[in-house]
Structure formats: structure tokens, C-alpha cells
Amino acid sequence: MFIVNYIKEVFGALKSLAVGLRRTMFYFTHHKEIITEQYPDNRATLKMSDRFKGEVVMPHDEKNEHRCTGCTACEVACPNGTIKIITKFEVNAEGKKKKAIDKFVYHLELCTMCNLCITACPSDAIKMAQTFEHSVFDRSHLTKVLNKPDSKIMEGVE
């Protein structure tokens, strides 16, 4: 009886291996079932999803104007101290002093892409960009100023 059981066990084991191997052979002969992205060779065609949180950017229009009023709502909302807004006073055409941003400093190395700054912004001045290749040789390159030089606030944004 021992011998019979032993032989049964051996053949059962061989069968179980064959079942698993059948799966492997299926994929060996069905190349279309395999999905591999050839990164970085496909960089030209690779497109991230619209909502992908890559980094915070400040969109500017063609007149080099942005929508940031410098209210620091994003700075308060950020859990890591990623954003630092440096403000200045501008004198407008009527001679009134008005607060405006001097520098919108963004530390990408501290950012966790939690999206809280974008939800906090009352004037839709910042948004998430879909970039993902962030590696640089020096970490000082990761500290960015988001507003472009000589940019101004858009008309009508309070």
C-alpha cells in the first residue's frame, strides 16, 4: 500500500507541475498578452494621465500674467513647508499701494504631491503638472521660483 501511495504522490506532483507549466507555455507562445513599456525609448509617445500629480506649476498667459494674489493660503495649507511666498508692495496707476508677489518659492524636494495647496487656492493660480522626471545632479535645482521674471497679476483677479 505504501508503494502505491508513493507512486500516486509522484504522479500527482508531476501533474501539478505540468498544470503550472502549461500557463507558462501559453504566455511563451502568446506574445500579444505580454505588456511591457519600453521606457525610455517611448518617451515621445508616453503621456501621463491629465490628473497625474507631478509638480506644482503656475500657469502664465501670453502676456506673461499669472493669477496669484499672494494670499498665502497655499503656504498655510501645505503640511511640509514646501511653499514660501515673498511679497512686495507695488504702486499701481492710481498711486495706490498694492500687495503683490515677488517670488513664489517652491521646494520640489519637500513636496509630497498631496494636492492641498491647489484645493486651498481661491484664485486657481497654481495647478499640478504631469512631469515625472525630476532627478537632478544638485538638490539646489529642486528649489524653484514659479512666477516668471517680470510677470504681473492678471486684470480682475482679486
Binding site: 503550472g20 505588456i35 503640511p79 509630497t112 504631491m113 492641498l116
Partner: protein
């Protein structure tokens, strides 16, 4: 505390597994006392990835502290976020719109499938089977793409806010999820075919790492680890949150108490998750995805506790509030920590080769253990 190297007075060998051993997931350091090949004692050493998350949370507001919990159990980050949001909503009595609830539950279950898939591949790789890893990651990639479309991230979602979700679901969400379910149903059977029946796998799993029901309870195990010992403990059934009480699903129980039982619980749980998604995917209610909340969230004075069922077990958040904008004290009950404490008991007396199999079926995520 044992010495970390050398031999004991009895002539037993002390060896270290980790913290950078490729067979462990993450930086888990085990100091093992061996008599020949037999394990006498396993002592986990923690602290390599401690970030003092609980202390950090004390200085963050109730919107900000949610993102930190993604960094704990990163494989079920969405469910962790969910638990935190539920706690704030319970304390402040915010009514969450039905649409947001359905979206949350849908994404919870997708996260659970993704987490179990990664576990399945990684555990098979621990045992020396390399192919399952690729099979699992191929399907997991589809979930990741769904997550990327809707939440904007693949791992640390940060999609849930107190009062609802960040954005409405992506227009492609329903279509893509349906495609995934249709495909995944076939793939689960393929997983069984590829690995479960395999004789080598069976011999390495059956009767290995016995954890009796009494021991599992006394160590505070939860989730699939406890359900593998035959104890019904699903938070979704016993303390239903969101819309789980209206959904039809069965709690997966196995009575084997060994590694194979824990393995089967997780594989069968994937099928139950699909079942939940199928019920919801065509019935997402119309309406808002975010309730109106105040700009500054202030919890009333008192103590609050909320539990959710993550892929690894019961995740609990305990908050003591003084009525301010930040918590006075916060405590996370992570499932991995309690599950790991049972490892020593399971491993004693067994061979060192089986240790990796036991660790694999506990589904350990080290940042979750070491907060």
C-alpha cells in the same frame, strides 16, 4: 535583548536576517537563535524606518494629517486615508454625499485587490517562484492606471478629504474598471492554476507556521492572518462603515491555521472584492462628491476612535482632541505590528527555510510596523 552575533552559552547560533536581506520586505531586522536548522527564537528589531509619524501629526491640521497616513501602509494607502477622513467626519458630524461614499468604497476595494496582488507575487518570489510576480504586477498595473486617472497618483493617493473626495471620478473610470473586472475574474483562476496546486508550493505551505485561533487572538492579529485561523473579524462586517452594510459579500474564513490557509484567505478575498465592485460600479449615485466643510476644521473636545479594514487587517486611529485645529494626541493601531508579534510563536521549533514562507503569509509592510 540577545547578542546580535556569535553563539549563546548553550551553543546555539545567532544569525541576523536583514535589515537589508533581499528575502525580507523592507528593512525588517530579525535576530534568530538557531539550534542546527531549528529555530529557537525570532526577535524582530524595529526602528530602521521610524519617522515618528504620530508626533508629526500633532502639529498638523485635520486636513493635513491624512496625507501622512499614506506613508504608513503604502500598499493600502487609500484605506488609511479613508479611516482618517471617517474619524474627522464622525467627530464633526459631517454628512458625506452618497456619491462620495460609493467612490470611496470602490477605490478601497480596488486598493485591496492591488495590495493582495503585490502580496501574492512577492510571497511567491520569497519561495523561489519568479513567474507569479510578473503575472501579479501585470494586473496590478491596470489598477494603478485606474488610480492614476482618478486620483492622480499610483501609490500615495491622497484622494480622500474630510467630507468627500478630491475630484469626481475620471470619465473613463467606469469603463476601465469594468474591463479590469472582466479580465481579472479569469486571472484569479489563473493564479490558482499557476501556484496553488503546485506540489512544491503545497509542501512548503501546508502545516507550516501554525497559529491557533487562541494564540492569534492573544497576539492581537487581525485581518487575513486571523481569518486564516478561523476567527471572524472583518471590520466591514462587524463595525460597518460607509455603505458596507448595504453590500452583499461574504467574509472569507479558513480553518487551516497554517500558511496555506492564510494564503487562500487572501486569494479568495480578491474574488469578494470583485463582487463588491460589481455591485457598485453600475450604481454610483448621482450628486456631489464633496460635502460643504468649513475652511478650518476643529474637532470637538473629546476622544475619538475609528477603525477600518485594510488589506492587512484592522487599522485604528485614536485621536484626543482639545478642541483646537490640531490633535492633542494621535495613535495609530497598525495591523502589521500585531501580526509581526505572532511570528516568534509561529516560527519556534520549525526549520529556518520555512521562516520566509511564514513571513510571506503575514504580509508585512515595514513602514506600517515602524511608524
Amino acid at each position: 535583548m540577545v547578542e546580535e552575533i556569535g553563539t549563546t552559552a548553550d551553543g546555539d547560533l545567532i544569525i541576523n536576517v536583514g535589515p537589508q536581506h533581499p528575502a525580507t520586505h523592507g528593512v525588517l531586522h530579525l535576530v534568530i537563535t538557531l539550534n542546527g536548522e531549528t529555530i529557537k527564537k525570532v526577535e524582530p528589531h524595529l526602528g530602521y524606518i521610524h519617522r515618528s509619524i504620530e508626533k508629526m501629526c500633532e502639529s498638523l491640521s485635520y486636513r493635513q494629517f491624512i496625507y501622512v497616513t499614506s506613508r504608513m501602509d503604502y500598499l493600502s494607502s487609500h484605506i488609511n486615508n479613508h479611516g482618517c477622513a471617517l474619524l474627522v467626519e464622525k467627530a464633526m458630524q459631517i454628512e458625506v454625499p452618497a456619491r462620495a461614499q460609493a467612490i470611496r468604497v470602490l477605490l478601497d476595494e480596488l486598493t485591496r485587490i492591488a495590495s493582495h496582488e503585490l502580496w501574492w507575487g512577492a510571497m511567491a518570489m520569497d519561495l523561489g517562484a519568479f513567474t507569479p510576480f510578473f503575472h501579479a504586477f501585470r494586473e496590478r498595473e491596470m489598477i494603478n492606471e485606474i488610480m492614476e486617472d482618478t486620483c492622480g497618483a499610483r501609490l500615495t493617493m491622497n484622494y480622500i478629504l474630510p467630507g468627500g473626495v478630491l475630484e469626481d471620478i475620471h470619465p473613463d473610470f467606469v469603463k476601465k474598471t469594468k474591463e479590469f473586472i472582466a479580465l481579472f475574474k479569469r486571472k484569479v483562476d489563473e493564479y490558482f492554476e499557476l501556484l496553488t496546486g503546485n506540489i512544491i508550493f503545497q509542501n512548503r505551505m501546508k502545516g507550516v507556521g501554525i497559529l491557533s485561533a487562541e494564540d492569534a487572538i492573544s497576539f492581537g492579529c487581525s485581518g487575513p492572518t486571523l481569518r486564516g485561523s478561523g476567527i471572524s473579524c472583518d471590520v466591514r462586517k462587524h463595525y460597518p462603515y460607509e455603505i458596507y452594510s448595504q453590500l452583499q459579500f461574504e467574509e472569507v474564513l479558513e480553518t487551516g491555521c497554517d500558511s496555506l490557509a492564510r494564503y487562500l484567505v487572501r486569494l479568495r478575498e480578491m474574488k469578494q472584492s470583485i463582487h463588491i465592485i460589481e455591485q457598485l460600479i453600475d450604481n454610483i449615485p448621482e450628486g456631489d462628491f464633496q460635502a460643504k466643510t468649513k475652511a478650518v476644521l476643529k474637532l470637538p473636545k473629546g476622544e475619538f476612535y475609528q477603525r477600518v479594514e485594510t488589506a492587512r487587517g484592522e487599522f485604528g486611529i485614536y485621536v484626543v482632541s482639545e478642541g483646537g485645529t490640531t490633535p492633542y494626541r494621535i495613535k495609530f493601531r497598525s495591523p502589521g505590528f500585531s501580526n509581526l508579534s505572532a511570528l516568534d510563536h509561529m516560527a519556534r521549533g520549525s526549520k529556518i527555510g520555512d521562516l520566509v514562507a511564514m513571513m510571506g503569509t503575514l504580509d508585512l509592510v515595514i513602514p506600517d510596523i515602524d511608524r
